[in-house]
């Protein structure tokens, strides 16, 4: 082994019979990785398993999908879920409409301010929701006050850290300045360059921001309760008192929907990466 270290041009381990000394050193990190992943998996999966087991539990002790099947017909579900979906849509549209141009502008014109923006966009996480609500109320248009869509404005603030980070990482991965300048040199106005060049190449980041925003809106409870609107998450909590199994089943379903969306995005990115690598190798 010493000889191997001292002689960089010496024979490879496979040729020396010292293979067995090297292998255990390589295996150790893999074992630890497995242990850490296993522990993390247990930490996340046990509560999920418990929730699923509870939701599937029948009155006589067997397993049944009755709780899942009955979700759509429960009192207030359609209205609450419909409201959450509408809020998710409005929030996502406003968030992307605000954050995509902002993130592009910061990257393009003020790259030195990226850290400052990182700090600013993280503020909604550390500021209490009630303060955010008061702040949004100060600037919200009058016609929105008294409607559930006021929540969408509040959710936009909440979604900002997640959306900005997704977009930021997408923008870092592309040569934004050159692409924009190439577009402009070919006669494209700023808006054309944004829509035809930048946005299509930010597709993964935008999808990621969208999923995070939707997940956040579907799961947000505090602001909806403070504003006294019955969104999906509020309905789950209230309905828990009437039928705990259905309430847990609905929570589980929401989680699975979010998870499936994330998997779709990941597989989409993975396919693109594989295609890119294969094409490069072919070229």
């Amino acid at each position: 082994m010493v000889a191997l270290i001292e002689s960089p041009v010496g024979p490879r381990p496979a040729d020396t019979g010292e293979q067995d000394e090297i292998r255990p050193r390589r295996r150790r990190p893999r074992i630890w990785r497995g242990v850490v992943l296993g522990l993390a998996g247990v930490y996340f999966l046990i509560p999920l398993y418990a929730a699923l087991r509870f939701a599937l539990g029948g009155p006589t002790g067997g397993l049944t999908f009755a709780a899942f099947r009955s979700i759509p017909s429960q009192l207030g579900f359609s209205a609450a879920f419909g409201l959450s979906l509408r809020l998710a849509l409005v929030t996502t549209v406003i968030t992307l409409a605000l954050m995509v141009p902002t993130a592009v502008f910061v990257h393009l014109r003020f790259p030195q301010l990226r850290r400052l923006f990182d700090g600013i966009t993280i503020l909604p996480i550390v500021i209490p929701p009630v303060v955010l609500i008061v702040g949004v109320l100060q600037v919200a248009p009058t016609f929105l006050k008294g409607t559930p869509y006021l929540l969408a404005l509040e959710y936009v603030v909440l979604a900002m850290p997640f959306a900005y980070r997704s977009l930021d990482s997408g923008l870092r991965a592309m040569d934004l300045k050159t692409l924009v300048e190439a577009g402009r040199s070919l006669g494209a106005r700023s808006i054309s360059t944004l829509l035809r060049v930048v946005v299509p190449n930010l597709r993964s980041a935008i999808l990621s921001a969208t999923v995070l925003t939707v997940a956040l809106v579907l799961g947000e409870y505090t602001m909806a309760t403070l504003d006294q609107y019955q969104t999906f998450s509020v309905w789950i909590v209230y309905f828990d008192a009437d039928n705990a199994r259905v309430s847990v089943a609905a929570s589980f379903m929401a989680l699975i929907v979010t998870w499936v969306l994330l998997m779709v995005i990941l597989s989409f990115d993975l396919r693109r990466t594989r295609r890119s690598v294969q094409a490069k190798e072919a070229a």
Binding site: A182, R184, S185, L186, G187, R196, A279
Partner: protein, 391 residues
């Protein structure tokens, strides 16, 4: 040259660069950069740069990193604000005209193709922005791709193409809009040597056929000298010299140009009446004046400006020989750890072996003189000598 849908049939049929018509189309624009100034913090990137490029001319901006060449190109493209000065194209001041309305095609150093579009759509993008119909722009884009030899790759996406292919598509994209001026920002520097040579020839050929006024930025003197009609050597935001490549090489205006373009030997000399004494001989000075008789200077001589002959009592020792075809470059170590390079016909150097003694002299041509270099440069010279000794 400005593209319009009501232009000639050749244009609307998408025959840009497709044959003899191309030359007729290529009127080119006259470009004038007048006293351009631009400062970034403490760095004066452009310091009164003035340059006129004639219609259809291929001009290269050559200089070391940070000399302001890219800033000048970007100012012309409309991507850089100017502190002072004017950019005038065909008599029209472009102050306030945004980049997207300047009708200038640009090829960037990094592959700047839009990753979400295939080659054809990339080339057609500029036409789309000009409102050209789908059929017309696809036909035209295909014809320009054919011009750069990539028609068969038109459906491929950037990540499916090699670097050389991507730059050719980028070139086609810039040409498709029939720009008034073609701007090339070190388009070859990211390519490997073989592809670089091929693309270099292709760009030159296309520029000659299309006669588009072209400004080419590079730090590679070989590229500049081989491609451009005129080369502008830049230093610290200013033009040191603007001349044809041959003139630049044979008659550099300043010691900086002399050393930046081609290979230059620095030899110790002494000013004497009628010239400068160097290697035991006296030759005339091209950039005379400013030096008193008897003062020590450094004499700048190109490898072909020196000659050598075998001599038992010669002051030089042959260190290495590099065969370059018809000529051979001989590195000779002189007294004082001074290494010089001498180009001689290969037949004349056949009998010179490393270690043999030679006498090096300066051919009777006017030379340039410069102030003595700094200590760092002396150290560099010593390192060259040491390397030559080792070899």
């Amino acid at each position: 040259m400005k593209f319009s849908r009501s232009s000639s049939p050749a244009r609307s049929n998408g025959k840009v660069g497709g044959g003899e018509n191309v030359g007729e189309q290529g009127a080119g624009a006259k470009v004038e950069l007048r006293n351009l100034k631009r400062r970034f913090g403490s760095t004066q990137a452009l310091d009164g740069l003035t340059l006129t490029i004639e219609p259809g001319e291929f001009v290269a901006l050559l200089g070391p990193s940070g000399c302001g060449k890219t800033t000048a190109l970007r100012a012309l493209a409309g991507f850089e604000f100017l502190d002072a000065g004017r950019v005038v194209v065909d008599g029209k001041d472009l102050a306030g005209v945004p980049a997207q309305r300047r009708d200038m095609g640009m090829v960037f150093q990094s592959y700047s193709l839009f990753p979400n579009m295939n080659a054809l759509d990339n080339v057609a993008f500029g036409l789309r922005m000009r409102g050209v119909g789908t059929t017309a722009r696809r036909e035209k884009a295909a014809s320009v791709l054919e011009l750069v030899g990539l028609e068969s790759e038109k459906e491929k996406y950037p990540h499916q193409m090699s670097g050389g292919q991507q730059q050719r598509v980028a070139l086609a994209r810039a040409l498709a809009i029939e720009p008034r001026v073609l701007l090339l920002d070190e388009p070859l520097s990211a390519l490997d040597a073989k592809v670089r040579l091929q693309l270099r020839d292709q760009i030159k050929l296309l520029q000659t056929r299309l006669r588009i006024t072209t400004l080419f930025v590079t730090h590679d003197q070989e590229e500049a000298l081989s491609m451009a009609n005129r080369v502008c050597v830049m230093r610290q935001g200013r033009l040191e010299q603007v001349d044809a490549p041959a003139v630049l090489y044979s008659s550099p205006a300043t010691p900086f140009v002399a050393e930046f373009v081609g290979i230059m030997n620095r030899l110790p000399g002494k000013i004497v009446p009628g010239g400068v004494e160097v290697l035991g001989g006296v030759v005339g000075i091209r950039n005379g004046g400013g030096h008193a008789d008897g003062s020590a200077v450094e004499v700048l001589v190109r490898p072909e400006g020196l000659t050598l002959a075998p001599a038992a009592d010669g002051r030089g020792i042959v260190m290495t020989k590099t065969f370059l075809g018809s000529t051979t470059r001989v590195t000779v170590l002189l007294e004082g750890e001074l290494a010089v390079q001498v180009d001689r016909p290969s037949d004349d150097t056949a009998n010179l072996e490393p270690g043999s003694a030679v006498q090096v002299t300066v051919l009777d041509r006017e030379v340039m003189v410069a102030e003595s270099r700094s200590g760092a440069d002396d150290a560099s010279q010593a390192w060259v000598a040491a390397a030559a000794k080792q070899s």
